[in-house]
């Protein structure tokens, strides 16, 4: 478990507040074993859950970026290696496909009084996960740069590209526009965002047949290409992690970046205080005259393993209730766009909440969505670099998806 200095300080503050130091979680006995991704908000949650540890209650946590590759195998054993898996929209699907998450209705009824209705993730009427934070890619821009060029904050992708062209001509910023265009997961995610913005449907309703090779797909690719033309030549090597330093170094003026990164980018105590003070967060732009933002909504939440004993499941649920208690959100409002009761959006969460209110669609939790995402990530790069047509790129994607979906048993 890797802790940054900042989160260590936050944790120290957390432990210092007396209400947390000797938490009474009401658990008699049991074992709580948490598997989770590793970023600040999740570190806070598992640290708060760990305060439930006592002579009879064991709490361990494995926070790792590899969680997605561990979870299915780790929860398939009986008893499961982890009793709690912290997941997001995308990573819940493999667990659901294998039936590895326990319906939580009875546990919510007994211990979940603090939960709000929108925190309950339901499949077929059963609660399968408890969400505690929201995330989305949304607009971030440098106020002073746009103002100096007399450009109004962009509301649409068309505005963004137009603004980028003006800024590029003025030559004040190296690459006015940056985006997560690295082939693979990031590039595919940008396509899904844009495609949703154009009102496209990813699949033919009620089937696993991909439907991206229509007009909305071509328009989405054309817009991504228009964006790329204003970017730095090495734009295809930029992912979320690579863009942090680019932004902090003042090398960009506009980006659609993850809300979970906003806290760090506007942190006045961060690496570049002037840039942080000048960075403004806003809702994700729309595209093609559409009414909903061209982005997808994500949530992070926790699930309890099917293969955990009832006692451990109850202990785990109670510990996680402590982990996502209103006090945790209240003590660390900047860490995430919490979905927890009593949380008021802070400046760092403005972008995510504006995006939610503007009616952006959630990222689909379909069992075959991951296969399409992978196929998109592998097949759009050649189009982006001008080596093949948009039609060809989408046709290649469909071929790759069909092959993968056949192998995974979703298509015959």
């Amino acid at each position: 478990m890797k802790l940054t200095l900042k989160s260590s300080l936050a944790l120290a503050a957390l432990f210092a507040s007396t209400s947390f130091a000797y938490a009474d979680c009401g658990i008699e006995k049991g074992s709580v074993r948490i598997l989770s991704n590793d970023f600040l908000a999740l570190q806070l949650v598992s640290a708060a859950a760990a305060t439930c540890a006592s002579d009879t209650v064991e709490v361990t946590a494995n926070l790792t970026a590899e969680h997605k590759n561990l979870q299915v195998a780790a929860l398939s054993t009986n008893p499961a290696t982890y009793t709690v898996a912290v997941v997001a929209n995308g990573s819940l699907v493999p667990l659901l496909n294998e039936g590895l998450v326990r319906p939580l209705d009875d546990l919510v009824a007994m211990y979940g009084q603090q939960l709000q209705p929108n925190q309950l993730i339901k499949v077929d009427g059963k609660i399968v996960a408890i969400a505690f934070m929201a995330n989305a890619q949304h607009l971030m821009y440098r106020k002073s740069i746009l103002e100096a060029a007399g450009i109004a904050p962009p509301k649409t992708y068309e505005d963004m590209v137009a603004a980028a062209i003006i800024l590029k001509e003025k030559g004040e910023v190296a690459s006015p526009l940056v985006a997560n265009f690295k082939p693979g997961w990031d590039l595919a995610q940008e396509f899904v965002n844009m495609y949703m913005g154009f009102g496209g449907e990813l699949f033919e309703p009620g089937t696993a047949n991909a439907a991206i090779n229509g007009e909305a797909g071509l328009k989405a690719l054309a817009m991504m290409k228009a964006m790329a033309d204003t970017m730095a030549p090495e734009y295809m090597t930029f992912d979320t992690n690579a863009l942090g330093p680019v932004w902090e170094g003042g090398g960009a003026a506009m980006q659609n970046m993850w809300g979970s990164r906003a806290g760090a980018l506007i942190d006045p105590a961060g690496a570049a205080p002037e840039v942080a003070a000048d960075t403004v967060l806003a809702g994700a732009p729309t595209v093609g005259g559409g009414t909903i933002p061209a982005t997808t909504l994500w949530w992070d939440g926790f699930t309890i393993a099917t293969n955990a004993s009832d006692e451990d499941a109850a202990a785990s649920f109670q510990a996680m209730m402590k982990g996502i208690a209103p006090e945790v959100a209240a003590a660390n409002p900047e860490a995430a766009a919490w979905l927890i009761a009593g949380y008021e959006p802070t400046p760092a969460a403005v972008g995510v909440f504006e995006t939610v209110q503007a009616g952006a669609k959630p990222y689909p939790m379909l069992p075959y969505m991951g296969l399409l995402h992978t196929a998109l990530g592998d097949n759009l790069a050649e189009f982006m670099q001008g080596q093949e047509s948009a039609e060809q790129a989408l046709a290649d994607t469909i071929t790759a998806y069909n092959t993968a979906a056949k192998e995974a048993g979703f298509l015959q």
Binding site: K68, N89, G90, P94, L96, N97, E98, G99, L100, N118, Q119, L120, I121, K122, V123, D124, G125, A131, A134, K182, P183, A208, P233, E234, M236, T237, D239, A242, G249, L297, W299, K361, P362, P364, M365, L366, P367, G370, L371, H373, T374, G377, D378, A381, E382, M384, Q385, Q387, E388, T399, A400, N402, T403, A404, K406, E407, A408, G409, F410, Q412
Partner: protein, 343 residues
């Protein structure tokens, strides 16, 4: 040595090889013949923090029963090998029929993921391997000539590129060739082109990857050749000097013939290593421009949300077949040498 003693002698290693090499390969080969069961899908209502909708879900209970019955999945024969993500027989014959020339055929062929990966893998293998052998040879000659006093440190520093883990080494170079990095910024200054970047075009990315490959592997051939140089007969060299041979003639007629068997060994190791190129592609974020067979396996198993074990297994088997084809000429040569020596 009696046969009995010989077998008793090699039995432990034979057992270990069977257990850790042959069995895993067999299991991968077996796995590559299977795909997942047809998924039982049911339509249910799904609610998240933002909205509710009707969506298809996998019927986990029905699937568990299916898997209980046939844990390997659905038998697919060689279907995975011939599908569009691998050898793509249908697509290839279609492209063949539609291509006016061989060149057009080859260029359309690289649009298929397997052949695209193959193109880079082969180019990498056949460009990097000879360069590694040549570079290593000249470094060895150079180091052999430096005074004994500084030889130790020189050898150590020459070995450094190989000691650095490939992924870390490629990341270090990746940051150095960044337009803000020392190499990238220098290149921009030298060519006075602020837009110049080694990361943008396929040609430049391939060049960078191959330069990295040579940089990383040259120490290996250097150290092997350096060891070989210590065994070059001194008296032959001295008599060559007396006969008035120049330094180059001594290298050409005494040193190189002596080192030829080592070249076979280095070529063998390097062909095998370079054919499995993976880390530089990840380290240099070169996914847009380069892909390799190992990268396809990595992609199937690690990048995908749903790992495709059958597909990865099929690519693994094709990689093994590729390595065998590559090594055959070298192995035949070694076999001939061996026979010559023993008879």
């Amino acid at each position: 040595m009696p046969h009995r003693t010989f077998f008793a002698f090699i039995l432990p290693s034979l057992f270990v090889m069977l257990l850790f090499i042959a069995l895993p390969i067999l299991s991968v080969a077996y796995q590559s013949l299977f795909i997942e069961h047809d998924q039982a899908l049911i339509e249910v209502e799904t609610c998240d923090p933002f909205s509710c909708q009707k969506e298809l879900r996998v019927d986990a209970a029905a699937m568990a029963a299916l898997r209980e019955e046939a844990p390997m999945g659905k038998f697919n024969g060689l279907g995975t090998y011939t599908n569009s993500s691998h050898l793509a027989f249908d697509e290839v014959s279609q492209i063949w029929a539609n291509s006016p020339s061989i060149l057009a055929f080859l260029s359309s062929l690289t649009n298929l993921p397997f052949y695209n990966a193959m193109a880079f893998t082969l180019a990498y293998t056949f460009i990097v391997t000879p360069l590694v052998i040549i570079t290593g040879f000249f470094i060895a000659l150079g180091v052999n000539a430096v005074p004994t006093l500084i030889k130790g440190p020189v050898i150590f520093f020459s070995l450094l590129p190989m000691i650095v883990t490939p992924l870390i080494g490629s990341l270090v170079l990746f940051w150095m060739i960044d337009s803000k990095g020392i190499l990238g910024a220098t290149l921009q200054w030298v060519f006075s082109d602020p837009q110049l970047t080694l990361k943008a075009s396929p040609t430049l990315t391939w060049t960078v990857l191959m330069v990295y490959g040579v940089w990383h592997s040259a120490p290996f051939s250097f150290i092997v050749y350096y060891a070989g140089l210590q065994g070059v007969p001194k008296d032959t060299l001295e008599s060559a000097m007396i006969d008035g041979a120049t330094r180059w003639e001594r290298v050409r007629y005494v040193v190189i013939p002596h080192l030829i068997p080592l070249t076979t060994f280095i070529a063998l190791m390097q062909l095998m290593d370079n054919f499995r190129v993976l880390e530089p592609i990840v380290g240099f974020s070169a996914e847009a421009n380069a892909s390799s067979l190992s990268y396809l396996i990595y992609n199937d198993l690690r990048i995908a949300e749903t790992p495709l074990f059958g597909s990865a297994a099929a690519t693994s088997m094709l990689t093994i077949i590729g390595v065998v084809i590559l090594l055959t000429p070298v192995l035949i040569r070694t076999w001939r040498d061996f026979n010559r020596k023993t008879h």
